[in-house]
């Protein structure tokens, strides 16, 4: 079956611009997660959705970052006034219900480069 998909696969933008990154989770998965992975590091948690609501957004670094999931399926991560330090791979994952210990299924990521 279809896994988690993310678009675009690569995004190059200029400092100060606005970007949107899209995640399409596995059908039927109510939990959705966004992570950021910098070079040479493990994924760093950003935000967790349970259905349409953000259950935990404690990982968002500042108010330039925002994410939505209006219909409980597709999610969009939005970054305003991008900075060079935002360059990283943004990963999306989904799981069936969000219970502790549940396997998360990851997408291939969006590689963001801010020039």
């Amino acid at each position: 079956g279809a896994g988690v998909s993310q678009t675009p696969s690569n995004k190059v933008t200029e400092k100060g611009k606005y970007v949107e990154l899209r995640c399409d989770p596995i059908s039927g998965h109510t939990a959705l997660y966004w992570y950021r992975q910098s070079l040479g590091q493990g994924p760093e948690f950003l935000i967790y959705f349970q259905g349409t609501g953000a259950a935990d957004d404690s990982g968002l670094p500042n108010d330039r970052f925002f994410a939505v999931r209006p219909e409980g399926s597709v999610s969009t991560l939005k970054i305003q006034r991008t900075e060079r330090g935002d360059s990283a791979v943004y990963l999306c994952a989904s799981s069936l219900s969000g219970r502790e210990g549940e396997t998360q299924y990851f997408g291939p990521g969006t590689r963001l480069l801010v020039l």
Partner: protein
């Protein structure tokens, strides 16, 4: 807060040799433990996880890991590696009451023919 340490950033090993990738965690409460693998240009994939019960956990592709509570470790092992095992391996921890999953910095395994 939980944290994960993977002391070896890079591990080169010859094909068909055994390998151990080390993972230590710190937490004051009970945790679940995971190993994920990231093949080049692919998303992370679960290798195995420890939730409860037997401390020896078997996963996909011949990998296994042993949970050691007293040493707060969850080392990953494989008795004989293949070229196709070349990848980045991430250890991760999550509190048993809801909390986000915390990933370690990763270990790059390179299998040499």
């Amino acid at each position: 807060a939980q944290s994960v340490t993977q002391l070896d950033s890079q591990v080169p090993v010859f094909e068909e040799a055994p390998v151990e990738l080390r993972c230590n965690y710190s937490s004051s409460v009970s945790v679940y433990l995971f190993w994920y693998v990231q093949y080049p240009n692919q998303g992370l994939q679960l290798l195995l996880k420890y939730l409860s019960g037997s401390t020896l956990v078997k996963g996909i592709n011949g990998f296994e890991a042993e949970f050691n509570k007293s040493q707060t470790s969850f080392h990953l092992r494989k008795p004989s590696v293949h070229i196709s095992d070349t990848a980045e391996y991430f250890c991760a921890v999550q509190k048993t009451s809801y909390d986000k999953v915390i990933f370690g910095p990763g270990t790059s395994l390179s299998v040499i023919p």
